[in-house]
Point group: C2
Chain length 438, copies 2
């Protein structure tokens, strides 16, 4: 059956073409945007097509309403760097998602560079007040997992503004969350602490970060002029998109495969998370085409709003609980569409060992690593009711070359890598459904 | 020590910058070309720099002369496709390495499509004579290993001309050796059987292959006009480039790490095999920088002429035998510079099991697959004297998107993937040197 699953996706896979349409015809799709609304329509239509082979009554596609934040970038942001004895330089910047705007003529102030939050405490208000704080802690290159390197830096982006505002900073710049040394700024969510003064926040490319660092090191006391035009609006309605094949023996037990339909408003949201979306859709198509009759109900869920609120994730889990739907397991694909490595199982005990027992049948397809680890943001809220959580693990080395940047485009995805991932997810659904404890 | 090795390459690796220089300043470097001569100079200089830290007398860099074939593409080739009721189309073609030229005004003849050589036997001279034979067997997509798919198709490119010439074909076109559906033709070596009439041979892109196939299927009896201007010259002298760190206990036992310095004359020879070359150089640099004093003599060998003759490989093994140099093991990197998977060990017995014993220390860096398999073309001739042969195994899914095509450029290589590969090779050298049977 596992061989049948992989043959189906490698010979007749539709996920790569689906991704092309999502990336090129829908494009990026931040929660609350016109692109996100278009993505919902696309998701429903694509799930209809993927499950059409199941015949009348064989599959069911529906929307689940959810209120989501709406933030808009507005006009193109900018940031100049001025220092004594050199010409003004345009830095590569992108407002961070959730940031407020600057005044229309910008915020102009001296930049100070920070690596660890505790340096803010040492410097104190006398050195920080009235300045722009530049967070420049780079990814650890010795972490083999790129996600681990990300985890060691991302608080600069998420919490940096509130940390710096405590001491009177006027704005923050955060080094982009990437290993790459290039000119692409990487956006992503930032969150204002309830107690904090709200100040504007933007990402700078790693090459721009180097320019700022060099100017500071040279004692030039550089000044930045940051202009952001972004804006937060009241929440708006949007949707999770769901398709299911009803179980033949345990129809009220569910296995979910999912990714998130929203993306940042730059690039095409290809690896984050177009690939997870089209892989989840493909799982249903593969199982139907392979003639598999699941015991449990299998759902593909295209979650809305992972990037800045996870409102779709919370709504899905709340409705599952309210309806008494028992979710046996959930698998998320939200680490890119690269070549398979394995699965992260959010467990350290018997269930982890149970899943590790599948390694011999999955290893020939590249799934050699079945380890304890994080399942995923969108399936996370299901954990509270005892759902087993699994995250699809592709190779991580290239992911942050694209993550939240304009380089996250269809062309960065390899057809076979994408298909092998979908095959592994379908195989895992099959194995959990067949051999999972009742 | 393994952690020290990986930290050294991830923190202070030079292989990515070396690759940039090789790709951008030297460029492609077919045996016998000016580019290859430039690559030899570059190799010697780069090995000098990489081993400089060893201090005076600590390392030794030298050239080994070898006679190599010289083939030149000449003027840009072309092929038009003409069929009733449609405009003449320019196909994407590249002469195959070793092919003779067509007459200056080309060879113009009807095309017949073949998938298996045995179809030639069935069709016979009456259907083949005076035609252009088009070999169009695609890669198997269900083979998880791309190299396995390549192995199932490459006889069309290597032997197709001689097979078709037996029945009077005038020329051959071979479908490019790739999974990708695009407009890039992929060249590579073709070999004329001694007994065969020599006829011109070219690769066509997979999209051009589809055009030809569709025209034939539509009953249009398409005619191609193929013009090749390539030429074979007498052999010329070239060099293997070698650097060694002398062993402290067993100086006349050798462990070789190598890749090949030559490339095809299109693209930049980045993944084939610039990455293997810079990784091999990096292994010496890492071991020296880590303060490791090897028991055996460790050599990095940049082999000349893997692509069309393997004369460097043969010369190296012949000289090793003549000088009584005992080669304990050899590791080749010639499957691209992608993210690590493991090692192929050309053994099925005790040595394979011995190397598999290293899996626990290598797996945290992505080296999870230590399997029986092919070592490499360049180290192959050493096998006759009992040398243990190992091939570095990176992920294979993207390799044939670039192999022998203009898309094999520096930009297709990821810095961290390249460095992790070099780290694994250095770790394997260290482990074999430390724990290998004396």
């Amino acid at each position: 059956m596992v061989r049948t699953i992989f043959d189906e996706v490698l010979l007749r896979g539709t996920c790569y073409e689906n991704l092309r349409v999502l990336c090129k015809d829908v494009g990026n799709r931040l929660s609350g945007s016109a692109g996100a609304a278009k993505a919902v329509v696309w998701g429903q239509k694509t799930l209809d097509a993927a499950t059409a082979q199941a015949g009348k009554g064989g599959a069911n596609v529906f929307l689940q309403e959810v209120m989501v934040p709406r933030w808009e970038r507005g006009a193109k942001e900018s940031c100049t760097l001025e220092a004594k004895g050199q010409k003004s330089i345009m830095l590569d910047v992108l407002a961070l998602g959730g940031s407020i705007a600057t005044p229309a003529n910008g915020i102009k102030a001296e930049i100070i560079e920070i690596h660890q939050f505790k340096e803010l405490d040492s410097l104190g208000e006398k050195n920080i007040k009235g300045k722009i704080v530049f967070f420049n802690r780079p990814f650890s290159v010795t972490d083999v997992s790129a996600f681990s390197a990300y985890g060691g830096c991302v608080n600069q982006r998420v919490d940096g503004a509130s940390q710096a505002a405590k001491y009177g900073a006027l704005a923050v710049l955060a080094r982009s969350m990437t290993h790459a040394l290039d000119r692409y700024p990487h956006t992503g969510v930032m969150i204002y602490a309830d107690s904090a003064q709200k100040i504007p926040a933007a990402a700078v490319s790693t090459l721009s970060a180097r320019l700022i660092h060099d100017a500071i090191q040279a004692g030039k006391r550089p000044v930045a002029n940051l202009k952001l035009f972004c804006r937060n609006f009241p929440n708006v309605p949007s949707h999770n998109v769901i398709a299911e094949i009803r179980g033949s023996e345990l129809p009220n037990e569910y296995i979910v495969v999912g990714g998130h339909l929203d993306s940042w408003d730059t690039g095409e949201g290809a690896h984050d998370d177009g690939t997870g979306v089209v892989q989840s859709i493909e799982v249903l198509r593969i199982l139907i085409a392979s003639g598999y009759k699941p015991k449990r109900t299998i759902r593909a869920v295209l979650f809305m709003n992972e990037e800045n609120g996870a409102m779709g994730a919370k709504e899905y889990a709340a409705q599952a609980a309210a309806k008494g739907e028992k979710h046996y397991a959930a698998i998320e694909s939200d680490r890119g569409g690269f070549t398979p490595r394995g699965f992260a199982v959010q467990d350290t005990g018997a269930f982890l060992r149970f899943v590790q027992g599948f390694r011999p049948v999955l290893a020939p397809y590249g799934f050699t690593e079945i380890t304890t680890g994080f399942g995923g943001v969108d399936i996370g809220p299901l954990g509270a009711s005892g759902t087993h959580l699994l995250g699809y693990l592709p190779d991580s080395q290239r992911y942050f070359d694209h993550h939240h940047a304009q380089t996250d485009v269809f062309e960065a995805v390899n057809k076979r890598e994408l298909e092998l991932g979908a095959g592994g997810m379908a195989a895992m659904v099959y194995l959990l459904d067949q051999y999972g404890a009742r």
